[in-house]
Subunit: 378 residues, 2 copies
């Protein structure tokens, strides 16, 4: 049961230097030049069906397209089956150590599994899981984390990124030998540099789609920066088919951050984009409160409008003019621009409302235009 | 009057593909392979000496090495001269429209000027400013913002980044013709993609050091992501000699974010680095509160320790082992690791304190080792 999300159509991807194979994850295509898919992971106890579903739904509403759940024991696997029935997005089961939990999750409707084959152990059991996933049409992510890499792999390779890639390739081979092909791979380290190197190296050596993430990346502030830097570098090079931002915090924040990264790179956009100045000694209006007001008024807009909220006469008019709707602040007042033209001047207290009205007009026009386009296709 | 900051010695820069010329900004070297310098800008009214100095001091304490102030009128220029006398860091005056304010700021002790020569106008006045800056040993930043780019430049160039670069080069030429050479350049757009392209293009065509920033980048959340993505891409390519993160918020936050970016890339480090997991259904301890507790206990540490705070037995022990000090959580307890060895198991309530003690021991050792090294040099 997959609902449509309110996500605006993605722009075309950056030039894909490393074109990957396309695989299926539930109804989604991952890789092969498809839009980068946004994932997150619940941090509720999976056995708590109600809390977990509530968190999945909140994440979905913020734009999560795939959600991963830890399935560490049999009770979790039973709950997982309950949860998949009601989830608005495809779910991935995160499995460690015990292949039977993987089989149970597949029975329970997992769209995908995330395995660390290194800790599943016996190749015979990995083959069993691959066969079951094949029968169900599910995907398998081979997830290599530097933190849990086998000592053997580290000893043989010339560098840690090399060791991660070798480990991933060996595990992919094991699964592919069973005839299973619906595979994606992730290589994660808490060091941005090692993650970037490992992911690049893998992209040069294998055309399977990659899931990107900086693991153990820290609290909201640190994690946001580390993920933005690491994923930003890779995505800007055309590498990465699905992403998860890892934060020590609620998954909804991870989803917001993932969309901000995609939006910053011009890869995908969800709702309006806000441009505002950092404020300086030239600013003569209370810009942070104006920006917060504008953002909360327009939080429900679906079109990818560009909205500028600027504080002064130096860069203000230029930015405001090139946005769809923009304000350039002056002394207690502001000039309103729509699509490059100044349409009036407003007192501070009326500015946010004036901008909101114009933004909603354009939003309606764009939605109507979109609907006309849809109709003309049918 | 420049105080020493508590910043740990930078690691060597990433391989510098585009080695820039070194220039001087007060006591600092910018470019030529010197460590990337962290800047911010005040958002107080420059005429308010007390408030502005307080903000400069707060920014300095968080790691700002240069602070820029808007000098939009004569009163601000008079205050600026007061402020430079008491500032713990070199100050840059941000000048628009009026060259006389630039001359006043130089008289008032500016270590540098940030000019947009396009809006200063008459080349004769730009020459006057350059000559005065030369006499004072001050630096000039030619700051091109897409939002205030001359129409002419846009019309002639094949793309907006190209137009920004052409505009910067023309303005640099004008200043260099006066014999003045202590120049850095910034090319800023609110679009990450355009900024990255413009900065790369400039680096290919000119060896002057570059100041990086994504302008008008939005509130704390959006701005942090956009700056991390844009500056992360460029710095990872070895481009960028000084940076400012622009946020619609307090400058201290800009400074924190700048340091997080440099730390994520392994370019520079200020104090300990915290590695923590995003928590998932496997986590059996209250990790966010543990992490917050640990961070606040160790906020004053000066050494570049790596501290891991992990929630489970999958990636926990590996990450905790490879950190200087680390915790791997279990059910209501945690295992403590120091330099790769497990040193004990602690109840949840005692974990943060146990980790703090070990971290402080290592911090003291590192500081003592640093002091011995300093002594052996003399």
């Amino acid at each position: 049961m997959f609902k449509m999300t309110n996500i605006t159509p993605p722009k075309s991807r950056a030039k894909h230097i490393f074109r990957t194979k396309a695989i299926k994850l539930g109804p989604l295509t991952i890789g092969g030049g498809a839009p980068v898919v946004v994932q997150t992971m619940t941090n509720t106890d999976t056995r708590d069906v109600k809390a977990t579903l509530a968190q999945i739904t909140r994440s979905f509403e913020r734009g999560a397209e795939v959600v991963r759940l830890a399935v560490p024991d049999k009770k979790s696997a039973i709950s997982f089956a309950e949860i998949t029935k009601q989830s608005p997005v495809p779910l991935v089961a995160d499995i460690h150590f015990n292949y039977r939990l993987a089989l149970a999750a597949l029975e329970g409707g997992a769209a995908g599994l995330r395995l660390n084959p290194g800790n599943i152990g016996d190749p015979k059991n990995i083959r069993r899981v691959a066969e079951a996933a094949g029968a169900k049409g599910a995907a398998i992510r081979v997830g290599v984390n530097l933190g849990s890499l086998e000592k053997n792999a580290k000893a043989k390779a010339s560098s840690l990124p090399e060791a991660m890639v070798e480990s991933a390739l060996a595990q992919v081979k094991l699964i592919e030998e069973t005839g299973f092909e619906n595979i994606k791979v992730s290589l994660k380290a808490s060091s941005v540099r090692e993650t970037v190197e490992a992911v690049r190296l893998f992209a040069q050596r294998c055309d399977l789609p990659q899931h990107l993430g900086i693991t153990e990346s820290g609290d909201l502030k640190t994690g946001t920066v580390r993920s933005s830097v690491g994923l930003g570098i890779l995505l800007s090079e055309g590498i990465g088919d699905t992403i998860r931002v890892s934060l020590t915090g609620p998954p909804e924040e991870e989803v917001d951050c993932a969309w901000e990264i995609l939006s910053a790179l011009g890869l995908r956009r969800r709702g309006p984009e806000f441009i505002s100045c950092p404020t300086c000694g030239r600013c003569q209006i209370d810009l942070p409160s104006l920006l917060a007001d504008v953002k909360s008024r327009l939080a429900d807009l679906k079109s990818p409008l560009t909205i500028a909220v600027m504080g002064c006469v130096v860069n203000g008019p230029g930015e405001a003019r090139s946005a769809d709707v923009g304000i350039a602040g002056g002394r207690g007042t502001g000039r309103l621009f729509v699509k490059g033209f100044e349409v009036g001047s407003f007192k501070f207290d009326n500015l946010a409302k004036a901008l909101e009205d114009k933004a909603r007009e354009i939003d309606m026009e764009l939605l109507a235009a979109g609907a006309r386009e849809e109709n003309s296709k049918t």
